[in-house]
């Protein structure tokens, strides 16, 4: 005991370290990539550990990538262009002249990976589940283009109850402005509702009371909901507004079907903790099926022999590796442990480029890097403070020196593209920033309370955060603490708005500025800033119902200007996607939305 524990402590650490070295080095004479080449397995760096493979719960890019390889929606995207689509589960489709009513005819011999037939009912079930008011799907608003979807998701019961009553004169438009909260409280002592006849008023009371007495049954069956499985192979969608671009929208995973029979078996529709999306019970309909998931090690999918185009898949499987640290990932790539990396940290760009120019890829990407602000918390609830913070960030220097040119400094929030002109609204002006900060009550940064900047543990974000921390110190004389969290904790803090500032990024779900601007509406499940503005809601609603492209873009630009004039977020830069790719990987093309169809990728044998 006298030769105390510390003498033991260091050998133990040394032992562990050497064990690590042993494990990492001794693996092979043959590298992982060579082995994978032989087995036709693609090794992909996938950023972070997945949170869920349930398409209705997943919300991070890492999840979506895996889900894309496991499931297939009505239509399937294209391997070379972001604005093309091909038949998926649906073999053909029709739209009405006003582009509001869509009918999808499903391929009749599509099967789930357990051999059961996939029917239109699975789609209806999927949309029902995501929109169910008690399910709490974060991405439910993706489906709000469907008629009645928003009302159903928000549990707006009168909307359905009253629109289903036959032979009455009033319709929902005339009833919308009634104070429903008040009416619900007075169910047992009804009064005459203004503007309606006695009979109509009584009818409303009776309908609502009947609903309550029946224990608030699920209203999904209402005729006012625009999803209908006509028969096993026909799915009908009715939209709120004309939407010729619907096919591009439904390429997103939120529109994918889920296996009704499995979910019902494993906890039912509303169970978020159901085991159906775990290895062993996950049943899917895409090109691959889930084989194995080792936490923090890898997730492997294998070719789905029941996929409709199984014969055309060249790969046998894909391994997704959750590597958060870009330096590690790049090192692993050069050590032949990965075919494709998720990203190259800015500081390694020069090194990677010179080491292997042919494997270095720099693609355009539809993404915006920004900081969310918790607009509910002092001092950030003051617009002036938020503006001061934004004005004191030198974005050109950030892009040049920290990101090392792998992006463009933001002058707005939404990246340009898809016919959209981003309004120029963000500048660097430390003078004005100081003035605004003084007006907000913190001259020279005096008395500015302690606030925290939350980042994930990605080293790029940390460097960026430190650079911005330095700029705020220099220009505004305020000190910000940086807290870097592991991904799950970070996501949880962001979703529960338990942060002051939070480093974020948003990559487009579809190729349209709406995917960025939709975020900041009140109903958006990914807003997480506490900011909303009635005019903004109105503008977004107007944009959604405008068909003519130019006018639509103008309305959206107006909305963005309004949002940026209040600064609920601090846009930083529009990033490029910088990654490394082995030469034997074929058919992996640059895509703005990064939705690569992995089933089209092949590994070409290298001549030795």
């Amino acid at each position: 005991m006298r030769r105390n524990a510390n003498k033991l402590f260091s050998p133990i650490i040394l032992g562990i370290l050497s064990l690590f070295c042993f494990v990492f080095n001794s693996c092979d004479r043959q590298s992982s990539v060579e082995k994978a080449d032989k087995e036709d397995i693609l090794l992909v760096g996938n950023n972070s550990e997945i949170q869920s493979l349930d398409p209705h719960i997943a919300s991070s890019v890492a999840d979506f990538k895996v889900i894309h390889s496991l499931f297939e929606g009505l239509l399937r995207g294209d391997n070379e262009r972001d604005d093309l689509y091909h038949p998926g589960v649906a073999s053909r489709w029709e739209m009405s002249d006003d582009a509001r009513e869509w009918t999808f005819y499903l391929n009749s011999n599509i099967k789930w990976s357990d051999g059961k037939n996939l029917t239109a009912y699975d789609f209806e079930y999927a949309y029902h589940r995501l929109l169910h008011p008690q399910f709490g799907g974060r991405y439910a608003d993706m489906l709000y283009v469907i008629k009645g979807a928003e009302q159903y998701n928000k549990n707006n019961r009168p909307y359905f109850l009253l629109s289903d009553i036959p032979n009455v004169s009033f319709d929902w438009a005339t009833l919308r402005d009634l104070d429903w909260d008040k009416i619900e409280k007075h169910l047992d002592d009804p009064y005459k509702i203004e503007g309606l006849s006695d009979k109509e008023s009584d009818l409303i009371w009776a309908t609502l009371r009947a609903d309550r007495d029946q224990g608030y049954p699920d209203l999904w069956g209402s005729s006012s909901i625009g999803v209908k499985a006509v028969d096993a192979h026909t799915l009908k969608l009715t939209l709120n507004d004309p939407m010729p671009q619907l096919p591009l929208l439904i390429l997103h995973c939120t529109w994918f079907p889920v296996p009704k029979h499995v979910i019902e078996d494993q906890g039912g529709m509303l169970s978020r903790a159901g085991k159906w999306s775990k290895p062993g019970s996950l049943v899917s309909n895409g090109p691959f099926v889930l084989k194995e998931h080792q936490f923090n090690n890898y997730l492997e999918v294998r070719k789905n022999p029941l996929y409709r185009l199984a014969d055309e898949i060249s790969l046998n499987g894909v391994r997704f590796l959750p590597i958060v640290n870009g330096f590690t990932e790049t090192r692993m790539f050069f050590d032949n442990k990965l075919h494709i990396t998720n990203n190259v940290p800015p500081e390694m760009i020069g090194y990677a480029k010179s080491k292997s120019p042919l494997e270095f890829c720099e693609d355009d990407y539809y993404v915006s890097i920004f900081y969310r602000i918790n607009t509910q918390k002092a001092p950030l609830n003051d617009e002036k403070v938020r503006k001061a913070l934004s004005l004191a960030i030198d974005r050109d220097s950030l892009v040049k020196d920290v990101v090392r040119g792998a992006g463009t400094a933001s002058f707005g929030f939404t990246p340009c593209g898809a016919g959209y002109e981003t309004p120029h609204q963000i500048t660097f002006n430390p003078q004005l920033a100081r003035q605004l900060l003084a007006e907000a009550g913190y001259p020279e940064g005096k008395g500015f309370p302690a606030i925290e900047l939350l980042t994930t543990s990605r080293e790029v974000q940390k460097t960026m955060a430190e650079a911005i921390q330095g700029m705020w110190k220099k220009h505004l004389n305020i000190h910000i603490d940086i807290r870097s969290c592991e991904w799950t904790a970070y996501k949880q803090a962001q979703n529960s708005m338990n942060y002051d500032l939070c480093s974020s990024s948003w990559s487009g779900d579809y190729f349209d500025p709406l995917t960025f601007l939709d975020l900041w509406t009140k109903i958006s499940g990914n807003n997480n800033t506490g900011w909303s503005h009635p005019d903004y809601e109105a503008l977004i609603a107007r944009a959604k119902s405008t068909v003519k492209l130019e006018d639509r873009m103008k309305v959206l630009a107006e909305a963005e200007s309004l949002m940026l004039s209040q600064m609920p977020v601090l846009p930083l830069y529009w990033s490029k996607r910088v990654y490394l790719k082995k030469p034997q990987v074929r058919h992996w093309n640059p895509l703005l939305l990064d939705n690569h169809l992995i089933e089209k990728v092949s590994l070409q044998e290298q001549s030795k």
Partner: protein, 321 residues
């Protein structure tokens, strides 16, 4: 009686005291001597360097001069944000050494008191106290430290705000110190277990010896006996343990900072500097090299010094030499 006591004193002065003996033995141990000098040099330059030399601020960024190689202006080069690495290593050393020293002191105070009481009181109390130590030993140390430092994060934030408001100190000086306090407490409060056991064993050995009997028969209180008569006799063991514990604790701080739980950006400790350097070792190896070099030197020196002290203070091992 008075005569004999004066006789005794002069005897001790003439003879070679334990301390004197120890120092002589330590001086003869070349490794320990060299370690002491290196250690002192590192401590001096870390704490006095920034005060005496005209150095840049450790968090001063120069984005036009990123990841520069060592030069006259920046002896260790600059990091990914153009900050001078030499200055950052010095300031990082301050934090690492400080964590080592303070956390050791905390565990010293708890461990010695706990061990003394447990050993001296004995019986059922001893059994209970030692079982508590056993239980704490059985828990995974690093996990405990992580849980502990996370759970006092929020209170420490509140405290920071309070200090800033009450004393009007600038946030950027208070905040880094406050962010270290959870670390101090966590490491210190959980690092005393071994020491408590050592001290307890020693106390049991000592409490039955004649000088303690004598003190007891003179009617001295238990506290006096414990702290005046027993504790000084433990000094040797405790000093050795401490020198050997400091590197362990500095290592733990590095591990925690490596995991992102220790020092907060933009401040750095050797642990965080090494982590940042390790990420970038292909691109700019000096970012890893210099902090790692200083850290290893310090740890090795402390270990050699500890070894030397153990040999020097242990009369039994000295007889063999």
């Amino acid at each position: 009686m008075a005569k004999s006591s004066s006789m005794n004193t002069s005897d001790i002065v003439k003879g070679s005291s334990l301390t004197k003996d120890a120092f002589r033995r330590l001086r003869n141990n070349k490794m320990s001597l060299a370690s002491t000098i290196i250690l002192l040099a590192i401590i001096l330059i870390c704490f006095l360097g920034p005060l005496l030399l005209p150095l840049a601020h450790p968090n001063h960024q120069d984005l036009t001069n990123i990841a520069a190689s060592p030069s006259f202006a920046h002896p260790f080069g600059t990091d990914q944000l153009g900050r001078d690495l030499f200055v950052r290593v010095l300031y990082g050393g301050r934090i690492s050494l400080l964590v080592g020293a303070v956390a050791t002191c905390v565990s010293l105070i708890i461990g010695v008191t706990y061990g003394l009481i447990s050993g001296y009181v004995g019986g059922k109390a001893d059994a209970v106290l030692m079982r508590i130590v056993d239980v704490l030993f059985a828990l995974p140390f690093i996990v405990l430290v992580i849980v502990f430092s996370l759970s006092i994060e929020e209170p420490s934030r509140v405290a920071t705000q309070w200090i800033v408001e009450t004393f009007g100190l600038p946030l950027e000086t208070v905040s880094p110190i406050m962010s270290l306090i959870p670390l101090f407490i966590a490491i210190g409060a959980l690092g005393w277990l071994t020491l408590a056991r050592i001290v307890r064993t020693q106390t049991i050995e000592l409490k039955n010896q004649e000088f303690v009997e004598a003190a007891r028969s003179l009617g001295l209180g238990w506290a006096t006996i414990l702290f005046k008569h027993i504790a000084p006799n433990l000094l040797g063991v405790v000093i050795v343990y401490t020198t050997l514990a400091v590197p362990g604790i500095m290592l733990l701080e590095a591990v925690l900072s490596f995991l992102g739980l220790g020092v907060r950006a933009p401040n750095s400790s050797w642990g965080t500097l090494i982590k940042e350097g390790a990420d970038r070792m292909e691109v700019s190896p000096e970012l890893l090299l210099f902090p790692a070099l200083l850290f290893s030197l310090t740890l090795l020196s402390l270990n050699f010094l500890g070894d030397g002290l153990r040999d020097a203070l242990d009369p039994k091992s000295s007889k063999k030499q």
